[in-house]
């Protein structure tokens, strides 16, 4: 690679990754007495955010087309509620229940995609309706919280996959190896698949083209409508899938679940270098965006005395930082021309 080949957008991604690294090092120094350095602490970032990673990846894809999906948080809640309700109230097995919610996700995406791609209604409005709908449906299914006791489901949720290394010795002298849950593996799998689709398929590049300039994409012979429809169908599927992973963490369904999830996903994507105007974005960046959010939460937990609202304020400050940085880059580019 030649020198200075880095374009503005790649540079932003680099900053995101660096920021994450710096934050983590600060954590290591400040909380060194609290075992912040343990591999498990790092893995916990993935464990507690497995669902969000999937949602952020899916959101990134939607944002690249120049659209947006603010229904995902509600879809996650609806998915969790449906899973809990089907398994606990209707006695449906865990496998069929998961298949059903994934199908519902696809149908949900199909409807949203049709309204956006074929009726050309603004994505914000369509998914706003989707958000209302899914949240309301959650309440219609049950206003009470339902806890999941299905054994198969719980076994998925609690199956620890241990690392053969990186462990530490506890007070009793037993070696405790770090572990992850299957949900993490699934989330990372989704990340890799979407990454490959975006980079190496015609469909993936069409997504970028549509976001870059819809009219041009059309005139260059791409099927803009179908591309968008497909994106929203995948998005609906991933929202349900992310909901499933989220449910593996919480093992329950209730109305207020995953509220504001969509904004966390958008914030993650923006911090990771995705432009909301479309055409620019990268799922790897979004992963780091989510990890940065997770790290802030870990800080607050470790610190112990800070109130929860500091998470919001810090994330907002980081958002402000990245957004202004993006804007300065854009301005510099404009000037160079």
């Amino acid at each position: 690679m030649k020198k200075l080949k880095l374009e503005g957008n790649q540079f932003l991604l680099l900053i995101t990754v660096l920021l994450f690294a710096v934050m983590y090092v600060i954590g290591l120094i400040v909380f060194k007495d609290n075992n912040f350095g343990r591999l498990q602490v790092f893995l916990n970032l993935f464990i507690s955010n497995a669902g969000l990673i999937v949602i952020a990846v899916s959101m990134t894809m939607v944002l690249i087309t120049g659209g947006i999906d603010i229904s995902v948080g509600s879809v996650v809640a609806m998915t969790c509620m449906l899973l809990a309700w089907m398994m606990e109230k209707k006695g449906i097995g865990a496998v069929p229940a998961v298949i059903i919610v994934l199908l519902i996700g696809i149908v949900f995406g199909l409807v949203q995609g049709f309204l956006i791609a074929y009726l050309k209604i603004q994505p914000f409005i369509v998914t706003l309706a989707g958000m209302f709908f899914a949240r309301g449906m959650t309440a219609i299914i049950s206003t009470e919280m339902i806890s999941i006791k299905n054994e198969l489901f719980l076994s998925w949720a609690q199956e620890k996959l241990y690392f053969p290394f990186g462990g530490y010795v506890n007070k009793k002298g037993v070696v405790i190896n770090p572990y992850i849950y299957p949900s993490v593996v699934m989330a990372l799998l989704v990340l890799v698949i979407v990454f490959l689709i975006l980079k190496y398929t015609k469909f993936g590049r069409s997504i970028y083209a549509v976001g870059g300039n819809e009219q041009s994409a059309l005139l260059m012979g791409l099927n803009v409508r179908r591309t968008k429809l497909k994106v929203y169908i995948i998005d609906g599927f991933l929202a349900a899938f992310g909901g499933f992973l989220f449910c593996l963490n919480t093992c329950s369904g209730f109305v207020e679940q995953a509220k504001g999830f969509e904004m966390e996903a958008i914030a993650g994507a923006v911090i990771g270098g995705t432009l909301l105007t479309g055409g620019v974005g990268n799922v790897i960046g979004s992963l780091f965006g989510v990890l940065i959010k997770g790290t802030i939460e870990t800080f607050i937990t470790f610190q112990g005395t800070l109130s929860s609202w500091w998470t919001k304020i810090t994330i907002a400050a980081l958002l402000a930082f990245f957004i202004i940085l993006q804007s300065l880059f854009a301005k510099a580019k404009e000037k160079r021309k």
Binding site: G212, G221, L222, G279, K335
Partner: protein, 512 residues
Amino acid sequence: MENSRKENKIVLTMRHINKNFPGVVALQDVDFTLRAGEIHALMGENGAGKSTLIKVLTGVEEFETGEIKIDGMPHSIINKSPQEAQANGISTVYQEVNLCPNLSVAENLFIGREPKKFGAIDWKTMNKKSKEVLGSLDIDIDVTKTLDNYSIAIQQMIAIARAVDMSAKVLILDEPTSSLDDGEVEKLFTLMRKLKAQGVGIIFVTHFLEQVYEVCDRITVLRNGALVGEFEVEKLPRVRLVAEMMGKDFDDLAAIKKSGEEKKKKSEEVVIDARKLYHAGTIKPFDIQIHKGEVIGLTGLLGSGRSELARAIYGADKADGGDLFVKGQKLLIGAPIDAMQAGMAYLPENRKEEGIIADLSVRENIIIALQAKKGIFKQLSRKEQEEFTDKYIELLQIKTANREVPIKQLSGGNQQKVILGRWLLTNPDFIILDEPTRGIDIGTKTEIQKLVLRLAGEGMAVMFISSEIEEMLRTCSRMAVLRDGWKVGELGEEELSQEGVMKAIAGGGSDE
């Protein structure tokens, strides 16, 4: 080898094409025939139906009745989308660059037909092929960089390269040259001749008559949505072509020349006096003086800084240094409003992006500058607004159903007149006209040229920028020449000739 036989083979026929837009007949029973290995000009004034015919052919617009036949297809075809048109062997380069700014150059060339390896896009091959494709057009750029790193001219060449590389039977070039400089146009023509030799049928839409006579074999002329006729280039002299397009005998050119003779007396009163004005990156420090009642032309190649000089004076791009005196008063321009208050007006080069307020009515588009000048609290009354609008609709003969029609529904020439009206209403002492006649039919062109001379005659100072030297010679009394961002000289009245200007633009020792 087989060329002589191919010459006669018909690759595309369009028969009895009809197309209506709400309230307007866009195409009425239009026929069009394209043969293999010919360059076929599609000519007509604005609103004649050229673009609509192209859009119908390429599947951007639907048509009501008629049939399209392509060589090798047993049945008539209807392209429902640009994709289908491409699949049927029609590729198109549009007037405005239609590529994706966020994708790499290579992707823009290959999107939709990327080379693949194991089912995945093969980036390495794609980049290599792109290098080759562009190399054949003498363009040596980094194809992995995103498109928005490059100038409009390069982007247009990339668009052309894309269309050509799709090895189509029919290649449509819809005013591809408007953002290219002479060298690039020449490259394009070379390419077109090469494709012609290979048997490709090329439809070439342009406003430049010279270009038609340089490369084309046949001409089809449309007027008001109807077919006027198909002609062979050798058998159709320019004057007749113009007459066919306009549908009337054409002696306006001569008339303009005559009125040009009248504008002799030059005032000594200096309206604009710029000293060492510059804008970083676009225009180097320049001095210029403009007198009352004169038309000064700015000439130079595209990218020479001719538009940028004007923008620096008006404050469209805030000058980074230097002094500007307006009628002897030093003026600091922070934003265009300051220039307006000092009596300037500016008709920008890019009508669509910087000129019209698309969704607003003709009335609102006309009064907006005056309203801005007066300030937010001194609203023009509805009655005043209507009077002003009617006055300029009448004066400039703007063709519009009424004054409340959104400007976007007007044809390009009429939009330009509305914008002219907008500025004349502010009663300026100095007006900058940057490519006021680009993309405008010949009739309106001459009207605007006449208007320029009349305004100067009334004492207004005019700065006129055009890429058509002929037009500049007709209107300007003096020209400033720009090259590579520098103002390199001025040509007085006596030096104004086609040859003189060309020489000055090219500069000494240049290989152009």
